[in-house]
């Protein structure tokens, strides 16, 4: 699953994420954007998000309400981008054992994943710094604190 499939380059002159998101995955699944419900989990195979560095790929998935992407492995830039925009990504070797329609429960800090069809699996949890970025909703929120102007005061 490459980033051109997640969001084709022909639409990237559109900087409005809400309208861009309507085109998510359309080249392989034209109805995708209207099918996704809040909290849905995408389950995938190896090298999810390979290709371009476009951050719009995780952004449109997050915009549509995708709660997490669980894949056997991720391409490097997509993985970083997802964390930076606050989309949870889980690299789980057992991803293929999750069945379509399952409900999955993921504990990012503990590194555990269970599914309604009985899968109990684990994954290496994110380093605390990255988990913190995810918990704050992405790198922008995390850095906002750093650049927040100080309160007006007497300077003493």
């Amino acid at each position: 699953m490459n980033t051109d499939l997640i969001i084709p380059g022909r639409y990237l002159d559109n900087y409005d994420i809400a309208s861009l998101a309507k085109h998510a995955m359309e080249d392989i699944d034209p109805g995708f954007a209207s099918k996704v419900a809040e909290g849905d989990v995408i389950v995938a195979g190896r090298n999810f998000g390979c290709g371009s560095s476009r951050e719009q790929a995780p952004l449109v998935l997050k915009e549509l309400g995708v709660g997490a992407v669980v894949a056997e492995s991720f391409a490097r830039i997509f993985y970083r981008n997802a964390i930076n925009v606050g989309l949870p990504v889980v690299a789980c070797a057992d991803a293929s054992l999750i069945e379509d329609g399952d409900t999955v429960e993921i504990d990012l800090a503990a590194g555990t994943l269970s599914s309604s069809s009985g899968l109990e699996s684990g994954f290496p949890p994110l380093p605390p710094k990255l988990l913190e970025i995810l918990e704050k909703g992405g790198l922008v929120s995390a850095l906002k604190e750093r650049f927040r102007p100080c309160r007006p005061g007497t300077g003493r």
């Binding site: 051109d4 002159d13 380093p127 922008v140 750093r146």
Partner: protein, 417 residues
Amino acid sequence: MSGRSFAQKVLSRASGCDAAVGDTVVAKVDLAMSHENAALVSSKFREMGAERIWDPSRVVLVFDHRMPANTVSAAEGHRRVRLFAEEMGVESFYQHGEGICHQVLPEMGHVRSGDLIVGSDSHTTTYGAFGAFATGIGATEMAAVWATGELWFRVPETLRIQIDGGMPSGCMSKDVVLKAIGELGADGADYCCVEYTGGTVDDMSVSSRMVLCNMAIEMGAKAGVCFPDEKTRQYLEERGSGGDELFSDEGSAQRRHLMDVSNLVPQVAAPHSVDNVLPADELRDVAVDQAVLGSCTNGRLEDLQAAAALLKGRKVSASTRLIVVPASRETALQAMEDGTMQALMEAGAIVTNPGCGPCLGAHQGLLAAGETAIASTNRNFRGRMGSPDAEVYLASPLTVAASALTGRITDPREVMR
């Protein structure tokens, strides 16, 4: 395991730490490049509440993906970036069709050996051809770099691809790297720094080495590098650049891949993944509607010259359109001066302005449903060059030219003189 790798040395220098493989370090970035997606980066920068770029002399902006603007929204994106660049005092701003970022940065002397370079474009790995550690990042991360000058990096493992043997007739560095990607897979170098070494690489021009490093991302690599030599030094000196040369210690690579190219034949990556690689000859029945010669991978002077040598005095097939996109204005001017452009245009090529062209399906030269293209570009994903029902095959400039000539995928040795 002994010694330290190139990646460790650059990241140690840039972070002030002893960077061990697997560590996460916070490093100071030497150069930060963005193209049109600077529009997204600048809005993330504002959202963070940042006010000034940490060091405007280390930021380079290039318009190449949609230059000149082909839609009103692209034009509006350009305008936002222009206003931002002016406000922030970014002087290295190539906004008037100078060419593709990955060609313009080395040409303009921004790339230095040993530097840590980030770009909000996945093919930023190209600068490894000059001995820099260069990697692609996303827009939000780039906003953080603009604000702080720093970014976290996981210190990567090293995959050394040693390439030996004389380059056979009809083959170019693109064939070598396609073969490598076919052998290793699209995630075969995931997160690694790929080092290209060996006699074949030593014999290559700097332009040919740029192809290897450019395509490192197509096997999942974080960075690709060819170690500097006299050719690198000469290129950099001519551009008023230089740098600190860093080399891996013996035995510092975690993985090795050996290639002997002496019996290599022209390679093609078939739809819809870059690791679906076959000899060109096995695809001889595939008719092509469009042939594309260009991109940050293969739009340089030597690429145009190779195609022109094959096409000079001949005509492109009546069933095929050949689109030539020089990688930069400098490339285009040189190709005009030495007759390359004349030969290509006389053969029937459509020459467009320097830039990314049809590569990512965002500007010119899009494909209709049911059409097939052969391209010297870097990705053949479904929908990459237009319709999701079109097919893109990737090959060397020679194979693209040969295929344009016959109207079907052609091993260039069949038609070379």
